[in-house]
Symmetry: C2
Subunit: 177 residues, 2 copies
């Protein structure tokens, strides 16, 4: 079975927020270049891990992609369609499940609760972070749970995406077990 | 009188936090390169604006610099020493005060409440943001107050500061009144 790598993908405001409120999709405020980046990378990574609320907001563009939707509403795993599973991450090991499906990479798209869950389970190997040149002032954080052991990363690259100065950062985790 | 520019300076974790808790100084987790950058820029900008709590944590290195310490503990302005003023930003106009002192730039060093106060008063012209390659999971946000009008910025430059991938971003505000 392949070893599964979890690749976090997020767009944040300059002040580190993934959105202003839980009902807002990132499509409202992210740049065209970030939307293209996201589409391109999702064409390469064959499995998406996403929280139920975020999934429901973005259900239309996601319906053609293989999604594992994290939720406490199912006991373990419930297959909803050819491509969609509802999955309780407190009851089943997500890494083992994806590996058994035959995939070696998963794109983690959020929101905060999903990022928190995978981070706390140690299921994080890379991060693609887009920083848009905008200040929200307040909003939803990328993560919300304090870590007992801080995670260190190494920057792979930083890339300017457009003239306004949207930037894309790619990091690898360095202190994975 | 000179027109005063407010230059926000902050170091954040990858997940957008300026610290893990209110009593932790950034010196614990920021890179040597960021410390040098901060020292160099404070040698050029002659006035520091800082919140009282942050000032008290960093009082030793700040004692030789001109500081305007924001606090609600004074009615208007109280001069504490040759270089230090306690200043109530709800009672007096900070921009006018700094201009009357004869300075054209102020470095805004935080914490969250100070960043919030100046942001809401529109006293923000540039941002230097260092992003350290570390995840906190939870902590203090750069800003905490929702803005009615979002602030847009333009990236001036991004610079890799070291091998681990601490990066320095410099932005100008674009929709200033």
């Amino acid at each position: 079975m392949p070893e599964v790598k979890f690749i976090f993908i997020a767009a944040v405001s300059l002040d580190g927020k993934i959105g202003r409120n839980p009902n807002e999709t990132s499509t409202v405020w992210t740049s065209q270049e970030d939307k293209k980046f996201l589409n391109d990378i999702l064409n390469k990574i064959q499995v998406i891990v996403i929280g139920r609320k975020t999934y429901e907001i973005a259900i239309k563009p996601l319906s053609k992609r293989r999604c594992i939707v994290l939720t406490s509403q199912v006991e373990k795993i419930q297959q909803k369609s050819d491509l969609c599973y509802f999955f309780n991450p407190d009851a089943v090991n997500l890494k083992v499940f994806i590996s058994e499906l035959g995939f070696s990479q998963a794109a983690v798209l959020g929101g905060t609760k999903t990022y928190d869950t995978l981070l706390s389970q140690g299921f994080i190997d890379e991060i693609y972070l887009t920083i848009e040149p905008i200040i929200f002032g307040a909003g939803l954080s990328l993560f919300s749970k304090k870590l007992s052991i801080l995670k260190n990363l190494k920057l792979d690259y930083v890339k300017k995406m457009n003239e306004d100065g949207s930037i894309l950062l790619h990091y690898f985790l360095t202190n994975q077990p």
